[in-house]
């Protein structure tokens, strides 16, 4: 075996990630200048990727690694969603600009609608919101423009902040009506105990009993923005109570608020 064959073998070991640091560096430098070794590396590297893939966890447990607990995803996605506003607030230009005085829930909604909105109705809005975020970040425009643009593309925020919206103050937040759309926007709700959620209720005009609506959870700061999927014109009262997970057919606890829409 000549010297270069030995090098080709080192390339294989390097591709596997099993060389000590000094030797790995030597191989890396050699790869940059030797076409034959670079070709060998390219040939073998996908085999190493394949070795990695052989460990992929699968439900049949053939790999020995069962699939991870689904709670792991919840943990990670919670973290991801919580981190969105933090990142946005790091945009350099934002520091120089006086913050627009919006209710905390509206600012939070502008930054991370994804986490807060539980109804399917809003999912397409989130897409637009995030695209806008990206565009705005790229343009490097300041915070005022960011919030304005985001708001302009997001029906919900327009509804929440529009001057012709009706706002009904409730404890820890407000109910907002804009045209025929209805929202519950909370700023500082307590976290429900384990196994409990908040549930919205509506009293339809002329009805004698509350009708169950969506269930939801505030984020860690107690913020929640909920679209109530009923035409506002049909609703006489809105209430929220704490209920067991999955919701109830009738309120089982004293409502945290009831508000009449006038």
């Amino acid at each position: 075996m000549n010297g270069h064959d030995a090098m080709l073998e080192d390339v294989a070991v390097y591709a596997l990630g099993a060389l000590p640091r000094e030797q790995a560096r030597a191989v890396r430098e050699h790869l940059a200048s030797c076409a034959e070794c670079a070709a060998e590396y390219r040939r073998l590297k996908p085999a190493v990727d394949a070795v990695a893939y052989s460990a992929e966890a699968c439900p049949d447990a053939a790999s020995g690694a069962v699939v991870p607990n689904p709670r792991l995803k919840t943990r990670i996605m919670d973290e991801v969603r919580r981190s969105v506003p933090t990142r946005l607030s790091n945009v350099g230009e934002m520091r120089a600009v006086r913050p627009i005085v919006w209710p905390a829930y509206a600012v939070a909604a502008a930054c991370l609608a994804v986490a807060l909105i539980t109804t399917a109705f809003n999912i397409s809005l989130n897409e637009e919101l995030h695209q806008t975020e990206a565009q705005v970040a790229q343009l490097g425009t300041h915070a005022k423009m960011l919030t304005r643009q985001v708001a302009a593309q997001n029906t919900e925020l327009v509804d929440l902040t529009s001057s012709d919206s009706q706002h009904y103050a409730v404890e820890d937040g407000e109910v907002v009506r804009h045209g025929n759309r209805l929202y519950i926007a909370m700023d500082s709700m307590g976290t429900p105990p384990r196994g409990k959620v908040y549930q919205a209720w509506i009293m339809r005009k002329g009805a004698a009993k509350m009708t169950p609506s969506v269930t939801f959870m505030p984020d860690r700061k107690g913020i929640a923005v909920i679209h109530v999927p009923t035409q506002a014109s049909q609703v006489a009262e809105v209430a929220v109570s704490m209920e067991p997970e999955g919701g109830s057919k009738q309120p089982t606890s004293k409502p945290t608020f009831i508000v009449k829409l006038t």
Partner: protein, 169 residues
Amino acid sequence: MSRVRTRDAAAFESLYDAYHRLVYGIAFRIVGEAAVAEDVTQTVFLKLWSAPERFDGGNFGGWIARVARNQALDIVRRKSHSETELSEAMPDSDLLEERVFSEIDAAQVRRAIAQLPAEQREPIELGFFGGITHAEIARRTGTPLGTIKTRIRTGLGKLRSALEGTVAV
């Protein structure tokens, strides 16, 4: 992936759905404990979320597999305090790598690996999942270093051919 760069949580979620079993599986194989493997998985994905620019193109699966391996080996190394000589962490960025296999199926790869002679399979798996150097593999298996190198190269070459025969390239 480009949508994750724009901090799109929904896009991130679909990447998670597609790759979390790979990341978790590699971590589990290396650390051997479900709870630790979950921590590794969480760290890998949160790093991806906070610094998506670390992935600079190419084969995403291969990249995230390397990141998962490095992260899991880090933990094993921190715990072990052993004198064992350890291999170098794989570079995150690998400009030489081409995207060769468009789809890698774990079950298919496991079959291909199972078909390798044990004398080739063992050093490959020890090197990749054990994070030890070729010299350490030689010592543990009582095999001369030169032989180990040859077996690694031959085994990887066979694996490459076996996958080429069955996988879309």
